[in-house]
């Protein structure tokens, strides 16, 4: 076999095994589970209203509005419900039903439990790596 093909195939095989590992052990963090139907429905609403265009989760998304990873943890469900229901000068009022608002809040509560962002006090190693704790948030 041509050495270029051999290298190519080796890289692809390694990447396939690596992908499998990422799909399973690499992301098997039980803190991230959407534990109930309301949270699962909330996730689909999050996508349907394209919330990511303006907000971020774990710093990923648009910068028009704040990162919402730990917003519920910091300000509570009632505060989040009020914001989603009423809108602000920068955020439209989507005229969601109460049930939809509750689903979205439930989803954001699950996101809050999944981890911390931004990291408050990361441990930085001498070679430039950081350590992330994986504790369940209240």
């Amino acid at each position: 076999m041509n050495y270029k093909r051999a290298i190519f195939i080796s890289i692809i095989v390694t990447a396939s095994l690596y992908s499998y590992k990422v799909y399973t052990a690499g992301t098997e963090n039980s803190n991230g589970l959407l534990t109930n139907e309301k949270a699962r429905a909330g996730k689909l609403l999050w996508q349907e209203y394209n919330c990511i265009a303006c907000h971020q989760l774990y710093g990923l998304g648009g910068y028009m509005g704040p990162d919402l990873t730990n917003e519920i943890g910091q300000k509570g469900k009632l505060y989040a419900s009020a914001f989603i229901s009423m809108g602000t000068s920068r955020m439209p009022n989507f005229k969601l039903k109460k049930e939809e608002v509750d689903d979205l809040v439930e989803y954001l509560a699950c996101v809050n439990k999944s981890g911390e962002y931004p990291l408050k006090n990361p441990d930085i190693t001498p070679w430039g790596d950081i350590t992330i704790s994986n504790t369940i948030r209240p």
């Binding site: 270029k4 963090n29 991230g32 265009a53 303006c54 774990y58 990361p122 790596d129």
Partner: protein, 441 residues
Amino acid sequence: MTKNKKISIILLKFSLLLLISAVVFGVLAALVFINADTLGKILPFRNLRPLHVSSAVFWILSAAAGSVLYFLDDTTGVQKPYIKLSVIYLWLWIATVLVVLGSFLFSKFGGREYWEFPPVLALPLLGTWILFAIKVIHSVGAIKGTWPVYLWMWVTGVIFFIITYTEANLWVLPWFRNNIIRDITIQWKSNGSLVGSWNMMVYGTSIYLMCRISGSQDTAYTRKSFFFFFLGLVNLLFNWGHHTYLVPSAPWIKEVSYIISMTEWVIFLNIIRSWRKTVSDVIKHKNLLAYKFLFASEIWVFLNLALALLMSVPAINNYTHGTHITVAHAMGTTIGINTMILMASVFYILSEFHQWTKKELLIVHTGFWVANIPLLIFWLSLIGAGISKAYYEKMTPNAGFNDRMMHVMPYMYIFTIAGFAVLAGLATLAIMGIRVKMPKN
């Protein structure tokens, strides 16, 4: 001119329209960003952003596919033209892209970064791309002997787009989407690799053009070229983790990505090492339109690679992630690198059958400078905004979002003004390309 080449020119012209759409919606989105209270009600940001992002993504994909389709005939000797397949691919692709953009106008979303359209549209998009892949694979299958490196890159890019785009849609399965950590990690794994796959097609086109301009194919067969191809492939497959360093997935995902990303130093040092040759080539080819764009892309590769290397260090990424520095990197690479290389390809192709008048050349050269100089200001203002956001986030963690954004706004005003200039430059170039008439035979 072969029928395949004519088809590819239609695709390239369509891609230029998408480029105009991308910059127009980008500037509108920037205006809304700095005037959300007033303009946001008329032009919702959640519609403008996907219109901008998708137009930009489809500009790159369409122009890269158009270039590959055009150059394939010269490379493979038109032994297997597959004209009908190319025609079906062309019109299905155009129709799909228009439906995708239309879905945003009607606020129909799928809410995934880069691919914010309803998931059902992933099917025609993928199906159409598979038609293109069949055409490419069938054409290159006719080649006897060793493939040049750009052919490896085109085929890799075309096939990996199918694989990584499929991966990007795994979220439709509950097992993937019902774990937030898994969902976000795989979403950004696929997004990172998707960018790598179109980069393969774009950089392959760049090498092809270099070979054509220099009149020698030698570079496309050297060990060094293949070394960089394989290094690029490894980065395509493993260097996506910097997007998710701060997501609580297994630490080894971050570590693998960190190690792999540091191999890009080799590319970075190679650019510095080859700098003198690059400059002497510029002097030699200074009258060639295509070379001018390729040279600009080299400078943008240097700047963006330096930024990427810094962002790939987790300790630095902790501060740059979630700030406009990420946007600087995304826009610097899509406009500075991809767009400049694709413009080189478009103008190289058009120059094969169109004799540019002095006036036209003057307009194109002006468009080139009007696009590139403000792009530097645009890029630097985003870095400034990112540094400001990171600083105030860490120094005033209890401050409200609006208070922190106040510090970012001055940079965003500069960004918006520079954006208007970039729009003027790129739209001028695109319009000059669209105006060129198709040859009769």
